[in-house]
């Protein structure tokens, strides 16, 4: 049986700046020059409609918004990771990001937990932003 690999993010025209920054171990968001709203991909501003946007570096700090713990693999590449968590982190600057919490036990994760970004190089061209307890 060939080893089943974990899937990698789909890198596209509209999100490649995000993944290129992650490769440099930087977390970026797409900011509206008109109202300041932040997004994780290239779009016109949903809040005010402005097309004037730019990629900016964000702090990488935030808190756990919600999370869950897989006790059963739904994809064969994850079977040795059971139990593992998937979380949504709300960045200090606003955007909500799907991620994994690392550097602590699953049982110690809670909603509101302060976290900060770390970067995991998972393939030659791909780095995943993940989060660890802050401080």
């Amino acid at each position: 049986m060939p080893e089943v690999k974990k899937q990698l993010p789909v890198i596209t025209e509209s999100n490649k700046a995000f993944w290129e920054a992650a490769r440099r171990h930087e977390l970026v968001a797409y900011r509206c020059l008109n109202c300041g709203a932040l997004y994780l991909q290239q779009i016109d501003c949903v809040a005010c409609g402005s097309p004037r946007m730019e990629w900016v570096k964000v702090s990488g700090r935030g808190e756990v918004f919600t999370f869950c713990i897989y006790h059963q693999p739904f994809h064969p590449a994850w079977k040795d990771d059971i139990p593992y968590n998937v979380a949504y982190v709300k960045l200090e600057e606003g955007p909500l990001l799907m991620t994994n919490i690392v550097g602590c036990d699953n049982k110690d994760i809670y909603i509101g937990m302060p976290v900060e970004v770390i970067f995991e190089d998972v393939a030659a061209e791909v780095t995943l932003p993940k989060f660890k307890p802050a401080g």
Partner: protein, 394 residues
Amino acid sequence: MTVLFGGTVSIRDKYAFVGVGLTKLGKIPEMTPDELAAQAISLALADAGMRPDEVDGYIYQQGIGGGLGDTVPLQMTGIPASMVWQVASLGSYANVMVAMAIGAMESGLCHTCVLVHAASAASRRGGGMMGGGPPMGSTPGAYGWYGPGATAACMAQRYMHLYGLKREQLGAIALTLREYANKRPDAVMHDRVITMDDYLNARMVVEPLCLYDFCLVNDGAVALIITLAERARNFKKRPVYVMGYGIDHSLREMGKSPESIHHFDGFVAQKAGEEAFGMAGITIKDIDVAEIYDAFTIFLLSQLESYGICKRGEAGPFVAAGSLKLNGSFPSNTSGTGLSWGYLMGFTQLTEGIRQMRGEGGVCQVKNAEICLVTGLGGMVDNGSAATCCILRR
């Protein structure tokens, strides 16, 4: 009356369900989805006392496992439909299919429509939808996020944090629905009794949700025939009329906050409810029985709040008080539905809603029930989700 959404065109009572065909539910590896669908269609025609050539519209939905071959079930049953539509495979679509059928009949495309759903989830899983994800890249997959259970689990986690939701309250939903299923001979879980201890000790699937918070994985098909009210009276069974329907989507919240379209703090269904109740000219207080979409216990719980049956944060104590039971204040999910009867996406709810309005609920029949609310939900992860409903009357 204040009508916030929807127009002035009313379809109330102009269309009615006249035929219900349901195959056995469970593990049926010997039958293909086409064969299951054809059997359901034949049963629906027999139930209505209708000839195949009296049906001219067909709207179908692939169940989990897929494999329904477009017009094959029509060829197997001799239905010469001129209108053939496939819709998305989401739990929100059974009610959308009701609206589509009515729209088609309103515009003269057809006069009698068969709505079909066929699932082969138990026998033909893997490779198809929810079978482990596509082979190409996936950003959620890169983080190990698979299946709709994670959405439900993340929602339950938020409810526990915000409102003090307890596992015992989700367990009360699982047990109430299982008790209904134990009384329904055609339920997959008819013979399998569970207790609160079983629930609390069950294995976790996606924590905080355990095995009994997840809907069933089964094969089976259903076909429902809907026609014009003036034709409906020609058939064998008492017609079940559509009073209204509505649809909403969490995309409506886009831009309010980054987390709003994810609806982790409760589904966005207000517009669906207002449209449907507005069309029907009734309020939630007029509902005698409800069939609420229950892919997960938490989905049912949250919709009790979305449709105004409970205030936000109060659905946990509401279900724990036994409100959803036959003798409770809001009898719901009377077959045991997706969690314990059989999962046919939104068709599980629609089918039982029609049966209740016909008085065919057996020992789970809500006495003198005249009006039924049927709901559905569909959507995953970063797409947000659709909420749909329809209101039936006898």
